[in-house]
Symmetry: C2
Subunit: 305 residues, 2 copies
DNA sequence: GTGAAAGCGCTAACAC
DNA sequence: GTGTTAGCGCTTTCAC
């Protein structure tokens, strides 16, 4: 279909200018005459010139790819909305530049050594760490590489200088405040695991909202981001505090369990009890590690149906 | 932390051999003496040599990255288990070689032109197409690039020579056969959209199983892979065929709707009606396009609780 | 404002 | 089995 791509110097020849000029145009450097620029641009267009990235990054010594390192190779774990959103966001920025996105699944020893090779081969302009577990080896690898590091989501044990994460605390707080403004007063909460960042942060947001409204934050059951956990927690709450009129659940999946139980008990939602939850993207503790994976989440409000 | 990485020729000097020898060792080419190989390997180890990928792919003219092109920038759409599984699988293979995985979100015009640039810049060893919509421009771009193409999941309008996809038909059939072996006889099905590959294939599998067992395949409602759709479809089925004792639902999410309705009607699952569904990872029709996104799915059996 | 030329770090062909 | 060397296609000085 297409002929062999022309090289930069071929373009130069065809356009009747020097390689220097073509290069300047491509990198839109200053000191190029309007005329030369036009000629070159036309030639590029006409012959379908596409720069060779390898040559470019070899010559320029800087390069080229932002690495997305995922400390998990469990599809169920990294197939989640939060990561997808982060990736989508990163991609949007990447598109502006001519960087590219490199994906490295670095859960195994082998994957990790691959990652550190890649980071060291000066092929990476920066690295984003995703799905870190507590005490994750990737943290060290990334730091040791000398490449700029940013975390996607936080875990409890690191407080990264650069990160992107959902506002779990603020989101939880807003969700609750919505119910407060709707007139609810006897709140309870079902929290996520308190050794996960999202679990802690959402609980914090809940307590903040309670404190600000002068309401009691004493009705609380800690749970585990699973549906069964949510269901059990709801049963517990109902037993202890039969008079409650609102529940903030720290994740949708737990809320699903809670809603099932409420329905079974014949309690009308949202008439008798209003429910809000966070659309978590966290998973329950991962198999290999006794610790939980990091939380990565996003809050929303919903007067549950 | 680390000093500047040594280059290959520096390693050669330090090891007291020629660059050719070092290069041979690295690419474990033949004709290297045991002794030389040892010396070089030790030097590589000691000085922490990591090949410069840019230089390598420039010199060798072949390079280096497998492109994962996703025709969607909607996080909700590509955050799904099927893609994650595919990616995980691809990654496992990639790890063996020293290729790398490049991620390109190519839903917008801009993203697409970026993709075609990348494919043309001889930086790609192959490309995998994901989340294609019907009549997707990526198909042409990929084909026109001259790079080997493989599809992840199929859409209805292309029959790619190379693809990876779930066995939707076979999975559906197996799921139903399981219920047949459990003694069910009066089957119904709630299908997915019949303009999506997964919708069609699962329905086909269902009909196959019915045919082989000599059962009627006449109880069918077409639906849309949404929960509400599943619920409505279930209501419809119940009205038309109050005597049915098994339902195959083409996706989990529709099954959720169906189960809710069954519960409301006081119908015991699985006592009175058994339900199986496919753990689809498809989404309902995407916003920008009037057509549905491709299906990407995986079947499983479950006697629904 | 433009051109010429010296590399970037590696591979591959060729000579020994 | 090993060493030498000419590029790969670009960027980047340095002259002009």
């Amino acid at each position: 279909m297409t002929n062999r791509q022309p090289t930069l110097s071929e373009v130069a020849k065809l356009a009747g200018v020097s390689v220097g000029t073509v290069s300047r145009v491509i990198n839109n450097a200053p000191h190029v005459s309007r005329k030369a620029r036009d000629v070159v641009e036309r030639a590029i267009e006409e012959f379908g010139y596409v720069p060779n990235v390898a040559a470019r990054s070899l010559a320029s010594q800087r390069s080229g790819a932002v690495v997305l390192a995922i400390s998990s190779d469990d599809p169920a774990l990294f197939a989640n909305l939060f990561f997808a959103q982060v990736i989508s966001g990163v991609n949007a920025v990447i598109e502006e530049s001519d960087l590219e996105l490199m994906l490295v699944l670095a859960a195994s020893e082998r994957g990790r050594s691959r990652l550190s090779k890649i980071l060291q081969s000066r092929a990476a302009a920066g690295v984003m760490l995703l799905a870190l577990r507590e005490n994750d080896p990737l943290t060290k690898i990334a730091e040791g590489s000398g490449v700029p590091v940013v975390h996607g989501g936080r875990s409890l044990d690191v407080d990264p200088p650069w990160y992107v994460d959902a506002d779990n605390r603020g989101g939880a707080r807003q969700a609750v405040e919505y119910l407060i403004s709707a007139g609810r007063t006897r709140f309870a909460t079902i929290t996520g695991p308190q050794d996960m960042h999202a679990g802690v942060a959402r609980y914090l947001g809940y307590r903040e909202a309670m404190a600000l409204a002068g309401l009691s934050d004493q009705r609380v059951v800690h749970s585990d981001f699973t549906e069964d956990g949510g269901r059990a927690a709801m049963a517990h709450l109902l037993a202890e505090h039969p008079d409650l009129d609102a529940v903030m659940v720290a994740s949708d999946i737990m809320a699903a369990g809670a809603l099932v139980l409420l329905k079974e008990r014949g309690i009308d939602v949202p008439e008798q009890v209003a429910v809000v939850s966070a659309s978590t993207t966290s998973s329950p503790p991962s198999t290999p590690s006794p610790r939980s994976p990091p939380s990565a989440s996003r809050s929303r409000r919903s007067a549950a149906r």
